[in-house]
């Protein structure tokens, strides 16, 4: 039901309403998503009534339908899986999507592609919900690709801008390339699962069938993550499982923009700001994190894969935070901030294990809170861009008085992301750091702390530059507050950013061994908050007033600063590798081969037939007597053969 509504709305809006009336499209689309959100809340309520918090949360499959059938045990089903994390994500996705829809009514007003925008937003919501509720890995993959397509359509929304078009192509190609790894991982898992299905299914099938969804299938998550299956797969050593999990993580890394597949996310800011809020802050980029969480038992069985996840996440976090310090475009700063926070989520999953699963809960918790305050940041930035008509923070200034609501909500979000008590970010970030410390990953813990400080610094950098001081440009001096449809979502998200921290997530989302929720772990909270305050202080020092201490520091750092500002030249590196190396040494020979040899064979067969034809054309004299001669000769030949056979 829940994914179906946006899908129907998508079809309705796209095919019927859009040509008729632009405004109606927006209203229908938004109401559809609000209805979906309401349904998600109801579902969450019911589920957590059935399985009260603090207890066990099995996965229920209330609806599933057969889609493809290869054999009795190899069937792909389409269905809905309900458990702790899927309910969580359904709530998050539908809420943020509904608010973004509402915001877009104001933001996209007057744009010629208004109806088209809402069509794509609905498509995206449907795909994301389909991904979240997938009961087996194939449906997840299908929706994964659909989400990629929606993202492509939305990033390239301003299709007349060449930079937008190339950004959307880049996003799609990078994530598609990552999905290759994902697909291979799926195939390995499926292949091994299929072989082991016979011996394992006896033990788990009854329990799985009791929860609904019919007979167990090879690709179901219930099968893939069951300890019996995993034990059977790793009976001959964990190498194969590790390889499969790392490949699956490749897919997650591409979608969640881990280093080195992060290059598409900053450029994806070419899309309209509501798109950035929805897709690249709250929902699509967390698909990768969700995938790892879904397959967490499989990851946990192979410790190496989990370490890879943790270190990649930590590195991305640090890398992105460093670059965010130098960017001037507000959306780019937010994009790198998202990368950094995603790194946190990944590393939280990476440091967890079945015995100490705090990281799992912490990651989901951070996903939950991050969705709210990052969406708020993006939407607020959108309001600012809308008012000032420029993306650069150096064009803004003094907006605090002119846009009070935006100012307050943006400040709340910035405090939240810096991890200041009692806002949401404080709780979730500290849980992640506590998880790292609890499992003795000291390097990761240190990196996490460092990045927390840097986060506070760069977020307050943009806050101070944009909102304090005097207006720095024409646009800023004429800024005005956003219309209701735009500041209402901001306000709602601000409230959520404040209260979301108080949700006792561990009661809702956990896996593996039960753990006691310690409340606030002071050993972690105090140093983290201290670092955050230091970060804020430094930002105030550099940017609080109209001074050029920052500019002086930048020039004194010279080349180092330039390198970081250019995002470590990673994009240029990619271009170099693809153009000079792959295109020249691999693509060109292959193209040559295709043109000259493959086509050549075809052309040769055609040419040779023609040549033979023209060579033999002299036989066609048009004179009957010549043909009669051939006829008689043939007849004689046949008679001779018959006569000799007779003899």
């Amino acid at each position: 039901m829940i994914p179906a509504i946006p899908f129907i709305s998508f079809l309705l809006v796209g095919l019927v309403i859009r040509p008729l009336s632009g405004k109606l499209a927006g209203i229908v689309a938004t109401t559809a998503v609000f209805v979906t959100a309401a349904l998600a809340y109801t579902l969450g309520w019911e589920y957590f009534h059935m399985y009260p918090p603090g207890g066990d949360h099995p996965a229920v499959v209330p609806w599933s339908m057969e889609w493809l059938r290869y054999m009795d045990i190899l069937t792909v089903k389409v269905g809905v899986l309900v458990d702790g994390i899927s309910v969580l994500l359904m709530v998050v996705v539908s809420t943020v999507s509904a608010l973004v829809h509402l915001y877009s009514i104001g933001y996209m007003k007057g744009d010629p592609g208004y109806g088209r925008f809402f069509t794509y937003l609905n498509l995206f919501t449907f795909s994301m919900l389909g991904l979240v509720v997938a009961p087996n890995i194939v449906q997840m993959y299908v929706c994964w690709e659909l989400v990629g397509v929606s993202s492509f359509l939305l990033i390239g929304f301003y299709y007349q801008k060449p930079s937008a078009v190339s950004a959307s192509k880049k996003a799609f190609i990078v994530t598609r390339f990552a999905d290759l790894g994902f697909l291979i991982g799926i195939l390995i898992l499926g292949y091994n699962g299929y072989h082991l299905f016979g011996q394992v299914s006896q033990s788990i099938a009854p329990a799985a069938a009791a929860l609904g969804g019919g007979a167990l299938q090879v690709f179901d998550f219930a099968f893939l993550t069951h300890p019996a299956t995993l034990a059977a797969v790793t009976a001959g050593g964990t190498g194969l499982l590790t390889a499969a999990m790392i490949l699956v993580f490749c897919g997650a890394a591409g979608k969640s923009a881990m280093f080195p597949l992060h290059i598409w996310l900053p450029d994806a800011m070419e899309g309209p700001t509501p798109v950035s809020a929805l897709i690249h802050a709250a929902t699509m980029v967390v698909a990768g994190v969700y995938l790892v969480a879904r397959l967490f038992p499989a990851f946990a069985f192979s410790v190496d894969a989990l370490l890879v996840v943790a270190y990649v996440g930590a590195f991305t976090s640090l890398f992105a935070a460093t670059i965010a310090l130098t960017q001037d475009d507000i959306k780019r700063v937010l994009a790198f901030s998202t990368l950094s926070q995603l790194g946190y989520m990944m590393l939280a999953l990476g440091v967890a294990s079945m015995a100490h699963p705090l990281g799992y809960t912490a990651s989901m918790f951070h996903l939950f809170t991050h969705a709210f305050f990052k969406a708020l940041l993006f939407l607020g930035a959108g309001a600012m861009i809308h008012a000032v008509h420029s993306n650069e923070i150096w064009d803004m200034g003094g907006l605090a008085k002119k846009m009070p609501i935006t100012h307050i909500t943006f400040l709340i979000a910035t405090l939240a992301i810096s991890g200041i008590f009692p806002l949401a970010g404080f709780f979730s970030k500290d849980e992640i750091l506590a998880a790292a410390m609890g499992n003795h990953h000291w390097i990761i813990f240190g990196l996490g702390m460092l990045v927390a400080g840097m986060t506070a610094f760069y977020m307050f950098r943009i806050y101070f530059v944009s909102f304090w001081g005097k207006a720095r440009s024409e646009g800023a001096s004429h800024a005005h507050e956003a219309p209701v449809t735009m500041w209402l979502p901001l306000a709602i998200l601000a409230v959520l950013s404040v209260v979301a921290g108080f949700v006792p997530m561990a009661d809702f989302v956990h896996i593996g061994a039960p753990m006691d929720h310690h409340g606030v772990n002071l050993a972690v909270a105090l140093p983290a908050s201290l670092l955050a305050f230091i970060g804020i202080g430094m930002a105030w020092f550099f940017y609080g007033s109209q001074n050029d201490r920052a500019a002086k520091l930048a020039t004194s750092m010279g080349a180092g600063y330039r390198v970081i500002k250019q995002k470590f030249y990673i994009d240029e590196l990619y271009l170099f590798v693809t153009h000079k190396i792959i295109f020249r040494y691999i693509s060109r020979p292959i193209a040559w081969f295709d043109r000259h040899i493959v086509d050549g064979v075809m052309n040769l067969s055609g040419w040779s037939t023609r040549a033979l034809g023209s060579a033999l054309s002299f036989l066609q004299t048009g004179q009957i007597q010549a043909y009669a001669v051939w006829f008689v000769a043939g007849a004689l030949f046949v008679l001779l053969i018959a006569w000799s056979a007779m003899l």
């Binding site: 054309s617 066609q620 004299t621 048009g622 004179q623 009957i624 007597q625 009669a628 001669v629 008689v632």
Partner: protein, 110 residues
């Protein structure tokens, strides 16, 4: 000489060889004559040789009946009809091409 001729009357093989020779002459003419009417004449020769064959078999295999001779009369009738059709075609052809030289009838060339 008269005694030789009296005692050595032609047997069935001799007559069949004669029929074959006539057929071959007709065939050769069919393949080599330039004049369309000449080709028709050759075809007539071939038909007549076939009829002749029928008569020979009639005489030597079933002399009691006249089936073979009857067949020969049929052949002659059919040949006559065919000549009529052929001449009609040649006359029409001559009207358009002003010649009935078959070597010049090569519109289907290549």
């Amino acid at each position: 000489m008269m005694e030789f001729l009296a005692t050595h009357t032609p047997g069935v093989m001799h007559w069949l060889v004669l029929s074959a020779v006539l057929f071959s002459i007709g065939l050769y003419g069919l393949l080599t004559r330039r004049n369309a009417v000449g080709i028709l004449l050759s075809v007539e020769l071939m038909l007549n040789s076939a009829a002749f064959n029928f008569v020979v078999f009639n005489k030597f295999v079933v002399p009691a009946t006249v089936d073979g001779e009857l067949m020969a009369i049929f052949v002659i009738a059919v040949a006559a009809a065919e000549v009529v059709v052929g001449m009609a075609i040649f006359v029409a052809l001559f009207r358009y091409r002003n010649t009935i030289d078959v070597n010049r009838m090569n519109l289907m060339k290549n």
